[in-house]
């Protein structure tokens, strides 16, 4: 096996492929025509050097791209929601298949919030890591998890939207249902493209040592490092407008539901998203 074969193998091992690999091998071949293999360095170490930098670049870029895709999907989602509910929301019991309707209605409230929170956390970390030449593997892994979570819940929001429109079709016009489902399906497209980019980025494996850190490393504020306190503070901030907007009847109920949702999500996704130990 030649030096170039070993370098190609090592590049494949660390996930460097496509045009980057072709260019590296072409430049190495040209260099080795003049220099000697021993002086060029260990192929494994060289491949890892490339991977450390490319992984950082690819993962941060995919996070930006995912946030852009989520912004497009979120805007469409908001416009679609306004279109569907312009004659008021459906009576919750009027679903063609009530269990599906209830799940879709809950998902319509929870999934966009989880997608937005994960996407925002992903964006904050990407901004920080983009300044590094080669970020620690654990940090990149956390960033990739946040990006995947944001995209998954973004997609779940669209599916929930379509399911809601279909299951409550009796409460809406045919045009509203058609536009709602077609729009939701169309908005899955940018999310799918972003998911493919994130998957490709995750294939490049960094080996830089270091801790993953948590949300306090990402937020540009000097907050006390107490995750659950931050969770309850955030829940309270989100609940206040719901309390104010809902009046005496619905306000306390909506605010309590929001607090419960935030705390539940923090408990379930806290570790995955690097919010708590």
């Amino acid at each position: 096996m030649t030096y170039l074969d070993r370098l190609a193998q090592e590049l494949a091992r660390v996930g460097v492929g496509g045009r980057a690999r072709t260019r590296i091998l072409a430049e190495a071949a040209d260099h080795l025509a003049d220099g000697d293999e021993a002086a060029f360095g260990d192929p494994g170490a060289l491949a890892q050097l490339f991977a450390d930098e490319l992984a950082t670049q690819a993962t941060t870029r995919s996070a930006y791209f995912a946030f852009g895709a989520l912004a497009v999907a979120g805007t469409g989602f908001a416009a679609g929601w306004l279109l569907v509910v312009q004659r008021g929301t459906a009576d919750i019991t009027s679903a063609a298949f009530l269990p599906l309707g209830l799940v879709a209605a809950f998902a319509l409230i929870a999934c966009p919030q989880i997608a937005f929170a994960s996407g925002l956390l992903s964006l904050l970390r990407a901004r920080r890591l983009a300044k590094l030449r080669a970020a620690p593997a654990a940090e990149l892994s956390l960033l990739a998890r946040r990006t995947r979570t944001a995209l998954a819940f973004g997609a779940a929001s669209m599916v929930a939207f379509a399911a809601y429109a279909l299951d409550y079709h009796n409460s809406f016009s045919r045009a509203q249902v058609t536009a709602g489902t077609a729009g939701a399906a169309a908005l899955l497209l940018p999310l799918a493209v972003a998911a493919i980019a994130a998957r490709r980025a995750a294939a490049v494996r960094s080996a830089v040592p270091g801790d993953a850190g948590d949300m306090f490393d990402d937020v540009p504020l000097a907050l006390p490092r107490r995750p659950w306190l931050a969770c309850f503070a955030l829940a309270a901030v989100l609940a206040v407008p719901l309390l104010a907007a809902g009046g005496l009847d619905e306000g306390p109920r909506n605010a309590a539901a929001e607090v419960l949702l935030v705390v539940l999500c923090f408990a379930v996704f806290g570790r995955r998203l690097g919010l708590r130990d």
Binding site: I24, A28, D30, H31, D34, A39, G41, P43, L46, E53
Partner: protein, 104 residues
């Protein structure tokens, strides 16, 4: 000289090696060796991740050239690269003077 010592300065050294005229990877290595009186000896392949990064940052540009039937990727410094090199030189002079003052 150990590779770790060079690591933090490689970007500036490569930019300096390209300042006068464009070169391919092997040519840059030779310039670094010659200008350092053979003190800078690093695994030659490590120059390429540096060159690729400098290109991503817009500090150098590269293109394939054909010379005597041989394809080579030639790098040249950009205007931003020259400005970055100027800043690095200033920083290095301050640093070197400070270290010299302490060590002496």
């Amino acid at each position: 000289m150990r590779a770790e010592v060079l690591k933090g300065h490689l970007d500036a050294l490569v930019l300096a090696a390209l300042e006068a005229e464009p070169a391919h990877g092997y040519g840059i290595i030779r310039r670094l060796r010659a200008r350092s009186n053979d003190v800078f000896r690093l695994a030659e392949g490590t120059i390429y991740p540096t060159l690729h990064r400098l290109e991503r940052d817009g500090l150098v540009k590269s293109r394939w050239t054909d010379a005597s039937g041989r394809r080579r990727r030639v790098y040249r410094i950009t205007r931003s690269g020259r400005e970055a090199l100027r800043v690095r030189r200033l920083e290095w002079r301050q640093f070197a003077l400070a270290v010299e003052a302490v060590l002496a």
